[in-house]
Amino acid sequence: MPAAQDCHQPIIQLKNISFSYRDQQVIQGLNFTAKERDFIGIVGSNGAGKTTLLRLIVGLLPAAEGSIELFGEPIRRFRDWERIGYVPQKNSFNPLFPATVREVIMSGLYNRKNLFRRITRQQQQKCDDALEVMRIQNIADKRIGQLSGGQQQRVFLARALINRPDLLVLDEPTIGIDAETQASFFELITHMHAHHDMTFLMVTHDLDMVQGYLGQKPVDQNGKIQFFVRHSHEAQDCVEQDLQHTLV
């Protein structure tokens, strides 16, 4: 059913992207498109350039060449940052930082649009909801540094989800976490992918973990970076969408 594939809008479009650190070329001539509801696994060994690519996609680094579009908008003009949820690497923050779980989750709301605005009761409710969804209400007032690696990642996931984003970006979310917790975290993410209207972009070095869900073979490759993609119940989405159009 060819029409079914076309009903998904592109979320990330990378056209002829190149990037180098000084004289070391990390990414060259990369083209890739992620569509609505896709789950993309960017896999590669250390130094392959996968984190660099993720930083390019979320605007933390400027591409030397090529163009990046988010939700159909060139990244320079893109302003809807609340549509993107970001889960950082575990070691991206100072573990002695005196922030509670609640304070960290609330920080997911601190974006350009909320600049100078006070926190509303509705936003506090969103935080309570995120705590509940991640089942971490019992640790809401604990300091983030006191938690286990798995709990910390649930907190960061809750923070990323507080805005109900359309795109969830995860940067090596399970690094430094024991194997059992890694598996349950990945299960949680894949469950969310199956049940929510969200696009997932996950950077990882763990090929085994993604292959089970995203298939054995990469759909694309650039240098040492491999792209694995799973389209979420795409045929069903588009049939439903077609049906709605017909009924209207």
């Binding site: 979320v58 605007g59 933390l60 302003r79 940052w81 609340e82 993107i84 970001y86 950082p88 991206s92 923050f93 100072n94 002695l96 930082f97 005196p98 922030a99 509670t100 304070e103 960290v104 609330m106 920080s107 997911g108 601190y110 974006n111 350009r112 649009k113 909320n114 600049l115 100078f116 926190i119 007032d141 300091r143 970006v169």
Partner: protein
């Protein structure tokens, strides 16, 4: 003995000390959490150069010091960008530049050196009304800016990448913190002295990091501790005829030692 408490100079000292007791840890917490504790020291050395020049060309010294500190804060940000992986390099360069300029102005203005010394080691009892206006103005600016950007500054300090991905103006916010630091440091040096100013920025925060359960409570606790040290230090200095700046700082250090002992006692 109690006469000193009702004297004008002591009351001015107390008021100035209380105001700096609010602003120093308020800005200090963002510096400590972003591992920029040494920036206070750097800016205080540059301020001394400005103060020395102020005496030399007969301009209000604290204002000249403030201008120097703000200019140095811009220079630090520029250098930080040029040497991204060596953040401390910008601090070392500007600090030595500040000391070099200060010593140059010292040698040019031999007659004023005693006055400049009062800024090096602090002379809170010589605070005049102009100084108080300046400290008051800086306090209002610092409290206003931090209240306006509180949540964004929290995110910036916690995780700069997440702040960028949220579309926050990270570059501007970094600049704001550095300029506010320059304002606080340049007004605090007459109170505790340039050599001790970073103690007011960092020690209350260092204690609160050990005790606080949340970011908000860390801020409140560090301000409360700094106020207790300012009032207690001034009283002790007044009664026992000690150097006020040094007494305040040593009181803070004793709080830190007690906290560390108390924490160890709790954990063993």
């Amino acid at each position: 003995m109690l006469d000193i408490l009702s004297s004008d100079f002591f009351q001015r000292a107390l008021l100035g000390g209380l105001l700096i007791g609010i602003t120093a840890p308020l800005i200090g917490i963002f510096l400590v959490l972003r591992r920029l504790s040494m920036i206070g020291d750097t800016l205080s050395h540059v301020t001394i150069a400005g103060v020395a020049l102020g005496f030399l060309i007969e301009v209000y010294p604290l204002a000249a010091g403030l201008v120097f500190a703000v200019l140095a804060s811009f220079a630090i940000e520029k250098l930080r960008k040029a040497y991204k992986s060596y953040a401390e390099l910008s601090i070392a360069i500007i600090m030595s530049g500040g000391v070099a300029l200060a010593s140059l102005f010292f040698t040019l203005g031999m007659g004023y050196n005693n006055d400049v010394m009062s800024y090096l080691f602090g002379s809170i009892y010589t605070l005049d009304v102009n100084d108080l206006y300046m400290v008051g103005g800086v306090t209002i600016i610092v409290i206003t800016v931090i209240s306006l950007f509180f949540k964004e500054l929290f995110l910036l300090s916690f995780e700069e990448d997440a702040a960028s991905v949220s579309g926050l103006p990270v570059k501007w916010m970094n600049m704001i913190i550095t300029v506010l630091t320059a304002l606080v440091v340049s007004t605090a040096i007459k109170i505790v002295g340039a050599l001790l100013v970073s103690a007011l920025l960092t020690i209350p925060v260092a204690i609160s990091l050990l005790l606080a359960k949340s970011f908000r409570s860390a801020i409140v606790l560090s301000v409360v501790l700094s106020e207790i040290a300012v009032v207690g230090g001034l009283m002790m200095a007044g009664f026992f005829n000690l150097a006020p700046g040094a007494t305040i700082v040593l009181l803070l250090i004793s709080f830190l030692i007690l906290t560390l002992i108390g924490k160890k006692g709790l954990t063993t």
